[in-house]
Symmetry: C2
Subunit: 188 residues, 2 copies
Amino acid sequence: MASAAENKRLSARDWADAALDAIARGGIGAVSVEPLARQLGVTKGSFYWHYANREALLVAALELWVQEIETLAAAAREVLEPRQRVLDTFRLASGRHRAHSAYATLAAHADHPLVRPALEQVARRRMDDMTQAYRDLGLDADTARQRAQLSFSAYLGFMTLLRHLPHDSMTAEAYEHYFEHVAATLVP
Amino acid sequence: MASAAENKRLSARDWADAALDAIARGGIGAVSVEPLARQLGVTKGSFYWHYANREALLVAALELWVQEIETLAAAAREVLEPRQRVLDTFRLASGRHRAHSAYATLAAHADHPLVRPALEQVARRRMDDMTQAYRDLGLDADTARQRAQLSFSAYLGFMTLLRHLPHDSMTAEAYEHYFEHVAATLVP
DNA sequence: CATTGTCAATACGCCAGCGTATGGTTAGAC
DNA sequence: GTCTAACCATACGCTGGCGTATTGACAATG
């Protein structure tokens, strides 16, 4: 169950890792020291050696999240075809990466003072990426921006929607079928 | 600040009302008896007269939420033009209705056993409405379903996105501008 | 093998929120 | 005016999670 190996000493990174997993599952409220310690098979004596307090762990987990998203985004930017660049974003929404699971959860905590700047940064950057992709596809600046906003909204909302409906309601083929429709509708 | 009037006795509905407001602001975690009591200007002695426990309040608040969404949806169904029917949904996302603010927040708690059925019901019904609207616009059954999913995702995501960016980044005119783009892109 | 640094266990005090018990206040019925 | 039901305050015990202090285990280094 626990991602970290058994009977090994932990690092600050291990705690941030577990915290990000917790965020993906239950939101920032799920980032609690003692339950995480139990899950990791240690006591909080370990935690308070690595971090000053719970808030510091939250900061570290959010930094980790932003970094993971940026890594995925950087990989997507390498794709030459702008059309594929847009569609790849949607494929990520199907959510094998925990960073995207966490996104759907963090999206609800926009009011949190630590979460907000992270969300804002990620939203801006990915919107800029998408706008650029649409510009590369020949749209004018204004239209590209609107289309990027629509696409990014659809991406965010699809991640959310997937968690509302039973998992069996969408097979792998259904995914691809949907993505084709998205491509035909949104991408010129 | 408190929506209820001062120096008046409270009803169970007043509590459910305050709980739904709390959900819209801070998620289900914000539905806590004693803070709500303070906000309402009473003590929890009042609460435990009206409800058995916190969970009962959550149930009541969620029922209230579903009911408010259904009321808005019923009004939207009255619109004859299917094109307007679709666009009205997006206008609601700009979110002066608390039911839609709550939606954006509840969307992140799909794992919660009480929240999930409410989300599922709302998602299904609104998707059905949208699918019907697209069918009325002449799309075949399969395409209408896909387009409804895309539209509903865009609606959900836009609600979310609005909370990530500073409020001043979108004026009323910008809203309308965006909606026109959505209409031109999604609605045949 | 002694020392030092790294990581973890234990034990403690603290606080916020839940739920209960019980008594007090107020409005309207009669 | 009394009675009763609806509503609220107060006081209490309980639990879970935060943070601190102290000690212990173990590895690496010399």
